[in-house]
């Protein structure tokens, strides 16, 4: 073991400081005794050793420093102290998304925007204040949109290196998408591993309520409130368990199934109706714009989308009054699925409209138009969220204070807020190709939203009354961020790059038949140079060939099948071990009873032989106590023995 691992192992021992220090002394003594016998390492190995030690030390101190100066650390402590870890998970998610946007911004700024600044074109348009809302006008000819970027190779002076804007644009997009993909994949995998340990016994969650008290809550009133809520929740759980054995009559079951069916039909119908409305408005948008000269008229479509996003989730929450679910967890999941279906279908309809109609309508610079649409959608979404937090929740609190018993203060709806974040992030990922400054705008938006939500939370909300499985829900949200959201973005961008014709007069890809032809022509130029043939070989045989992907898929499927079989085997093993523990427990009880009976018989034999002398009084009581202590001792010794093998 390296010394760092040794220190970590000693630190993780459940002992006091004194004992740990003694242990460390003993281990160090042993180690130094051993090292006398090992020959001196040659200087090369020593050098490597010291380098790796220095690297590990610097890595550890860097990670320590990062957690110390981590963004908003004090605010998190205050939020956690008053509301607990469940509400804190929303703010953690927000901070995590902020990191994605900061990274995307740094990449696009360094590789696309700065080179474009060095070859500026004249901006002849006028600046009015309306640009901040519509994104059009003056901003059209700035680095904000795709259309402004040059398609030439930037070169400063005769000695400077040439910088191909086309390749830079496409490679930058690819680079940050790949990094986001792997980062999402690793977070998802890590969360799955920690949170979905499959119990073979169905657990009702009572032990989680009892053993997982939230130690991060430090506010006195919050603690009292949490105790009251916990008591209520325990009572509700107990009554649910009592009613589990009560079977419903056929009539009641039928009514339940009909209610579920009706709710699903209505929710799907509402979602489809909203999508049709959005598509109809989008299609007639261009004629509508020609008839109404007002530049603010372009905001109608984003306004409608934001209204739908505001009203429909609240409508879905009302279904709770009609439907009855077996567990509250199922209710939360079904509500989430309905909301996600709505949001993803709206984004899907808009993408379909943009890629099939706007891109092929023959307009100039359709990419800039799409970029402007996405900017307007995001901005309207942000304005609606601000209004909701600042005005809506404030009004709700004022109304709630009038009726102290029935409505009371509202609770922070974590699911709805996280879905709004996922929706915004999806739009940002799609839009960065058409509007490279979008991550910067989303960064500012997230920053402002954090402070607004924080202030609104402190003023208008009360701590949550029901237990919320924060880790499981976070895993589900990260999965949602990956599966419909990020994969949808990849599909949309793939269709754009492979199937659509870039506009002829603007942007870095002007004049090409497809976006992907920039890569094809680059490979062609590389194949003419002798030093880069290996790149061409990789492209033609690994990326371009079908056989390679076929073999790769086959290998991945085989590995997945093997891991699945190993998991099944381990589940069987767990079941067998569980049964073995139950049997051992029964054996132990049997042996203890037998021991007690034997001691009883011995005591009776003793008392009958020494009945004359009064010693039986002194003997029976120590024997009784010894009996109890024996049983007690056996249990305690067993638990102590179980601790020892871990050391």
């Amino acid at each position: 073991m390296t010394s760092r691992d040794r220190i970590k192992a000693i630190r993780n021992q459940p002992r006091t400081m004194e004992e740990k220090r003694n242990l460390k002394k003993m281990v160090d003594k042993e180690k130094s005794k051993q090292s006398h016998r090992i020959l001196e390492l040659n200087c090369c190995a020593q050098c490597l050793n010291s380098i790796s030690r220095a690297y590990r030390r610097s890595k550890n101190s860097l990670s320590e420093l990062l957690t110390y100066i981590s963004l908003w650390q004090k605010t998190f402590k205050v939020i956690g102290g008053k509301f607990g870890t469940s509400v804190l998970s929303y703010f953690n998610f927000l901070r995590w998304l902020l990191k994605f946007n900061i990274f995307s911004f740094i990449v696009t700024f360094s590789f696309i925007i700065i080179p474009q600044f060095t070859v500026p074109e004249k901006n002849t348009l006028q600046f009015t204040g309306l640009e901040f809302f519509t994104g059009a006008g003056y901003f059209q000819d700035t680095v904000m949109y795709y259309g402004f970027y040059t398609n030439s190779t930037v070169q400063h002076g005769s000695s400077g290196a040439p910088y191909n804007m086309q390749l830079a644009y496409i490679f930058t997009t690819g680079a940050y998408l790949i990094v986001c993909f792997f980062s999402l994949l690793f977070s998802m995998a890590r969360n799955f591993r920690n949170n979905f340990i499959n119990p073979h016994i169905y657990s009702r969650g009572i032990t989680k309520l009892i053993f997982c008290w939230d130690f991060t809550i430090t506010h006195e009133r919050a603690v009292k409130l949490k105790q009251k809520n916990l008591s209520t929740e325990i009572r509700e759980n107990l009554s649910e368990i009592r009613q589990e054995n009560v079977k419903l009559t056929l009539n009641q079951q039928l009514i339940h199934v009909l209610a579920h069916l009706a709710a699903w039909v209505v929710s799907t119908g509402v979602a489809i109706a909203c999508c049709v409305a959005v598509y109809y408005l989008a299609e007639n948008n261009s004629e509508f714009l020609k008839n109404h000269q007002n530049p603010g008229a372009v905001l109608l479509l984003p306004f409608l989308v934001s209204c739908i996003n505001l009203a429909t989730p609240r409508l879905y929450s009302l279904f709770r009054l009609v439907e009855r679910y077996e567990t509250p967890r199922r209710e939360v999941y079904i509500l989430l699925i309905r909301n996600i279906f709505l949001k993803i279908s709206i984004i899907g309809i808009l993408c379909y409209y943009w890629l099939n109609i706007v891109a092929q309508a023959g307009e100039e610079c359709w990419e800039t138009l799409i970029g402007q649409e996405i900017y307007r959608l995001l901005l309207m979404d942000f304005v609606f969220s601000l209004a909701d937090s600042l005005l809506g929740e404030f009004l709700r609190r004022l109304i709630g204070m009038q009726f102290p018993t029935s409505l009371g203060l509202q609770e922070f709806d974590i699911a709805r807020n996280v879905l709004e974040l996922i929706y915004a992030q999806t739009l940002v990922w799609i839009g960065t190709f058409f509007c490279p400054l979008l991550p910067f705008i989303q960064m500012i938006t997230l920053f402002i939203m954090f402070y607004v939500k924080n202030i609104s939370l402190m003023m208008n909300f009360q701590p949550p009354s029901k237990a919320w499985r924060a880790s499981q829900m976070m895993t589900f949200f990260i999965f949602l961020l990956f599966f419909p959201s990020f994969t949808g973005v990849l599909c949309t961008l793939a269709i754009t790059i492979w199937r659509l014709k870039p506009s002829a007069d603007c942007g870095p890809f002007r004049g090409l038949p497809f976006f992907i032809h920039s890569i094809y022509s680059w490979i062609d130029t590389l194949s003419k140079r002798s030093g880069y043939l290996w790149v061409v070989w990789i492209y033609q045989n690994l990326i371009g060939s079908v056989h390679f992907f076929f073999i790769l898929t086959l290998i991945v499927l085989i590995i997945t099948y093997l891991y699945w079989q190993i998991t099944e085997g381990r589940k069987i093993m767990i079941r067998l071990l569980h049964e073995q523990i139950i049997n051992e427990g029964k054996d132990k009880m049997f042996l203890i009873e037998k021991l007690a009976k034997l001691q009883d018989m011995e005591k009776r034999a003793n008392t009958s032989s020494f009945s004359m002398e009064r010693r039986d009084v002194e003997q029976t009581s120590p024997l009784h106590v010894r009996e109890h202590n024996a049983a007690h001792d056996l249990r305690f010794r067993r638990s102590v023995q179980e601790e020892n093998p871990k050391v």
Partner: protein
């Protein structure tokens, strides 16, 4: 400071620094030098006045578990550092569940029996009369807890069973945390 760094090599420097600063705030001003602060012990009442512990229902049990004095009523700086390191982000879930077991074991006998569990539930639900569970509700609750956690069916929960139950709740590690 370098002497402190050497002495507490097992912990990260920042943790030691922050812990020492908070610990010295609890001492009277004349004992605040580095030498004395490592030797003196702070009484339970003073530790319980820390804002992070003041509202916690388990504050007395926490202090008793980490105290190394014979009467278990005072904490030295090393005990305080132990406490903070167990409740920090860097402690493993195994370590946390071990100490959680000791905190919940109200009679310190190495197992959680029915009395321990009922005292635990009373701590959780608070001192008020309307929030306390009735005797029948308490019995049903403890029966359910034992049914879920007591694998060998001996009527008590030992350390391994407790750790097994805790391993199924991934939220435990993030809620068993006290941030300075």
């Amino acid at each position: 400071w370098s002497e402190m760094k050497v002495r507490f090599r097992l912990y990260s420097f920042l943790t030691v620094f922050q812990a020492h600063r908070r610990f010295c705030e609890l001492l009277p001003p004349e004992h605040r030098s580095t030498e004395e602060s490592l030797q003196t012990r702070v009484s339970l009442e003073q530790i319980l006045s820390l804002p992070e512990l003041k509202a916690n229902p388990f504050k007395e049990r926490i202090c008793r578990v980490f105290s190394t004095s014979p009467a278990r009523d005072s904490l030295s700086f090393e005990d305080f550092l132990d406490l903070l390191s167990v409740f920090s982000d860097t402690a493993t879930p195994d370590l946390k569940s071990h100490y959680a077991f000791r905190i919940f074991d109200f009679d310190d006998d190495g197992t959680l029996n029915r009395e321990d569990l009922s005292q635990l539930v009373n701590c959780l639900t608070g001192p008020g009369d309307d929030t306390r569970l009735s005797a029948s509700e308490m019995k049903q609750l403890i029966d359910n807890i034992l049914e879920e956690s007591d694998i060998d069916r001996d009527g008590t929960i030992n350390l391994s069973e407790f750790q097994h139950v805790i391993s199924r709740s991934p939220d435990f590690a993030s809620s068993f945390k006290i941030v300075l």
